[in-house]
Symmetry: C2
């Protein structure tokens, strides 16, 4: 079946994201340098993020709260409140960071918007995602925009059902195998994987070869892939 | 035009919410008692919430971050990290609190689901809202569920447009004049106001008399109001 609807992930697919988290995390390691080695801080923070995921969900605010918990834990409560305020400030910087589009994004999205129905499917903090979408300059090119809490097969089925999209006519484009590609293959759709320069530990996944899934280096290759299907 | 679609707010309309925030805030006042009078704490916290709203949006995580900022500010940085951890724990309690339905909710929602299309429209933290919806036992009675970042006329127009709902056949039921009633009247819909025992300072609003808007004491009165229209 020919593809008529293209889903796009947003963070690290249309615009930079993980890069800023990476910088924030480096600064966090520095802030805690007197209490712990960087690799310990990294490990304890990841544990906190995993522990808190069910309650906090994805996004900057939960990340900040997990950093604060980690700082308190690693310093055994000795960290001064002023340092914790710095962590909050850093979170605010993350939230206020201007959107930086990835290469070829405006051209390719603009081109495909005239031939396909485009759906933006992004997970994370609602306020932050909506702010980024609004300031990206791309919002009007999308037919539908969905901010979701988790990207699993049930979520994709719900979205496709809601908009009467046949999975066999749908392809999802994104940087995360775990969130953007595998669950869509699961429900009978196709996937185009566009790796980003950094993958967050919680997004790591391994994919076996699959005939309905291809990898491309950047979005400039996407129109040709779609034309081939 | 007869009403065929009924929108429902969730927090403090279908289930208790503000009550738990109120308790959390009382405990926060106690925690800061050595640094500030309760009314000062309340005022500085509200300032922080207003200041942070654009970046944080609504919900528990932003509330916790604003409480932490307020504690640091009022103690001039002297508050021990262990006390800040208590504030985070309290936030987790809020997030994990079981859903307690308001009186008549299951009966009335169950009854109306057989005669009208029901849409749940709630604002706040995506993860928390979805958890509450999932555990409320009501999810299957709703035709559509929308978690939004802000409840203004543009948001309601977008939702109604997306599901091809004519505003003149739509009524919104909720506890907040500012978020649930006035913006819906603005776009040509109707409103049923069901006040809750507490109104958050940021939701306060005044409504003038309006023939498309009624107030009821609890949800048991809703079917009769709808039958009348």
């Amino acid at each position: 079946m020919t593809i008529d609807t293209v889903g796009f992930d947003a963070d690290d697919t249309l615009w930079h994201n993980e890069r800023y988290f990476h910088v924030a995390q480096q600064r966090f390691h520095d802030l805690l340098a007197e209490f712990a080695e960087p690799h310990t801080t990294e490990e304890v923070l990841l544990q906190a993020e995993r522990r808190n995921l069910m309650l906090f969900g994805y996004g900057v605010k939960g990340f900040v709260l997990s950093m604060i918990e980690t700082a308190i834990e690693l310093s055994d409560g000795a960290i001064p409140a002023s340092q914790l305020q710095l962590i909050i400030e850093q979170g605010k910087e993350l939230l206020a960071h201007p959107v930086e589009l990835l290469p070829y994004v405006p051209e390719v999205i603009g081109e495909l918007a005239s031939t396909h129905r485009l759906v933006l499917i992004t997970k994370g903090d609602l306020t932050h995602q909506e702010t980024k979408i609004a300031t990206s300059g791309l919002a009007d090119l999308f037919w539908q925009i969905e901010v979701v809490n988790e990207k699993d097969p049930a979520t994709y089925s719900r979205i496709l059902g809601r908009h009467s999209i046949d999975p066999s006519s749908f392809v999802m484009v994104g940087n995360s195998l775990r969130s953007d590609i595998l669950p869509v293959l699961d429900i009978g759709g196709r996937g185009v994987h566009v790796p980003y320069e950094i993958t967050w530990s919680m997004e790591l996944a391994v994919a076996e070869d699959h005939h309905d899934f291809v990898s491309i280096a950047d979005l400039s290759e996407l129109p040709e892939v779609l034309a081939r299907w």
